[in-house]
């Protein structure tokens, strides 16, 4: 038994493993080459598909992805949205933070001057099924449309009496407050840089790229 193990040395024993490793490695490389394009497309489409819903009149194929430095010093991503005739009609800002149960990831649609919210989309959430997870419904998300960004948004349980108040979801106050807090933090962090970018880009579209991928 021991002799069988030492027969042929290490290569003699392990040649099958090495051969299989090479074979599988080649197979995986082939699969990666064939499919990685599609997978990247799918990841991009997740965001790009929703852009027309967030900024009215957008042509998603003309969207530019930019890296911006927020007020907190960290890099984040922003999407500059154009209409089909090439004019800059808004921004889409990804934002995230802690919700009630776990992390919530959002996309916030904004006008070019970053003065109004034009739409909201929930990319990812793990809130309570049936209660917190209604933050994905259009009914809740539409409450954010046309909200001003000059003041932080506040969530109230009754009907909103002021511009910056949003009515909470019944039975999901903390989830609603979390969404508002995420929006407020993202705007506080990125409003300045985005307004600066809008002001800088004159008639010739200036593209600041190191697009994060």
């Amino acid at each position: 038994m021991k002799e069988e193990r030492n027969k042929g040395g290490y290569i003699g024993q392990a040649w099958l493993v090495i051969l299989l490793a090479l074979l599988y490695g080649g197979g995986l490389a082939g699969v990666q080459t064939a499919l990685s394009g599609r997978i990247q497309q799918n990841k991009k489409a997740e965001t790009y598909e929703v852009i027309p819903d967030l900024v009215a009149g957008a042509d998603a194929s003309r969207t530019e992805e930019l890296a911006i430095r927020g007020e907190n010093g960290k890099d984040s991503r922003a999407y500059k949205v154009f209409s089909s005739d090439g004019s800059h009609i808004g921004w889409v800002l990804p934002a995230g933070g802690s919700g009630f149960a776990d992390r919530i990831d959002l996309l916030i649609g904004l006008d070019p001057e970053v003065s109004t919210i034009t739409g909201l989309y929930v990319l990812d959430q793990k809130e309570t099924p049936g209660l917190g997870d209604n933050i994905t419904t259009a009914g809740f998300r539409d409450r954010f449309r046309n909200a001003p960004t000059s003041q932080p948004l506040a969530v109230v349980k009754a009907d909103p009496s002021r511009d910056n108040e949003i009515r909470a979801l019944s039975g999901a106050t903390i989830s609603s407050e979390s969404v508002a807090a995420i929006v407020n933090n993202a705007l506080a962090n990125c409003r300045g840089p985005l307004q600066g970018l809008t002001a800088q880009a004159g008639p010739e579209r200036q593209r600041l790229v190191e697009p994060a991928r």
Binding site: Y24, L28, V31, D75, S76, R77
Partner: protein, 231 residues
């Protein structure tokens, strides 16, 4: 201080709020199979915690330096070999294979080490050590770390990965010890025959999961408390 808050939150999340066994359903096989007595269950939990920490640390290193898109080591090899420095290399397709081999090797090394330096401990572990290789929880910890290594702007550091692993292991130990305590009591009860063994264990696990659901939302509260405390 912000990083310390982050680490505490990761730990609490992995150990209590999103407990690996009762929320993510990983590590169920040993959870059902080894939870008959509290001492064996606790020993299993400790072994799992040890292996999960070592293997997640090693897997973080592999991911950070070799496997993720834009990793430094393949980029250096590519440049030295004269390739175009603009192409971004992505070896992430090999992630799962590397992870499982690192885990299997970690278990091997832990077994050799324990056998050499503490034979009585080795005897008491007995057949549990190979069981750890097929424990979903260990691979799951590495996969969670991988999830946070996708965005080059926001990579998880080694302390964060290690905290997740430790939290997960300790949460697993907690769950399995609690289950063992309950099952020791159940041995004295008159359980209907179809439910004996796995059936009643799963129902008890369901009730435990419901109890642990009470931790939902704690993360937000702790975050607020810590940020105001450390200000």
């Amino acid at each position: 201080m912000e990083t310390l808050t982050g680490l505490i939150l990761i730990f609490i999340s992995a150990a209590l709020i999103n407990n690996f066994v009762l929320h993510y359903f990983v590590g169920i096989c040993p959870f059902l199979g080894v939870s008959r007595r509290v001492d064996t269950a606790f020993g299993m939990g400790c072994a799992v915690t040890f292996v999960i920490s070592i293997s997640t640390m090693l897997n973080w290193m592999f991911t950070s330096f070799i496997l993720r898109p834009g990793a430094p080591l393949p980029a250096w090899v590519w440049r030295t070999a004269g390739g175009n420095p603009q192409t971004q290399l992505d070896l992430s397709v090999l992630s799962y294979i590397i992870y499982i081999f690192v885990i299997a090797s970690s278990v091997q090394f832990v077994e050799m080490y324990v056998r050499k330096f503490s034979p009585p401990l080795y005897k008491s572990f007995g057949v549990f050590l190979p069981l750890i290789t097929t424990n979903c929880a260990i691979l799951f910890a590495s996969l969670e770390v991988l999830k946070h290594m996708q965005d080059p702007a926001n990579l998880w550091s080694l302390p964060q990965a290690l905290t997740l692993a430790l939290g997960g292991g300790i949460g697993f130990t907690l769950a399995i010890s609690l289950m063992a305590g309950i099952r020791e009591e159940l041995d004295l009860c008159d359980v209907p025959r179809p439910l004996r063994g796995a059936g009643i264990a799963l129902i008890v696990a369901g009730i435990m999961a419901m109890a642990f659901m009470g931790f939902t939302g704690v993360e937000k509260g702790v975050e607020t408390a810590l940020t105001s405390l450390l200000r």
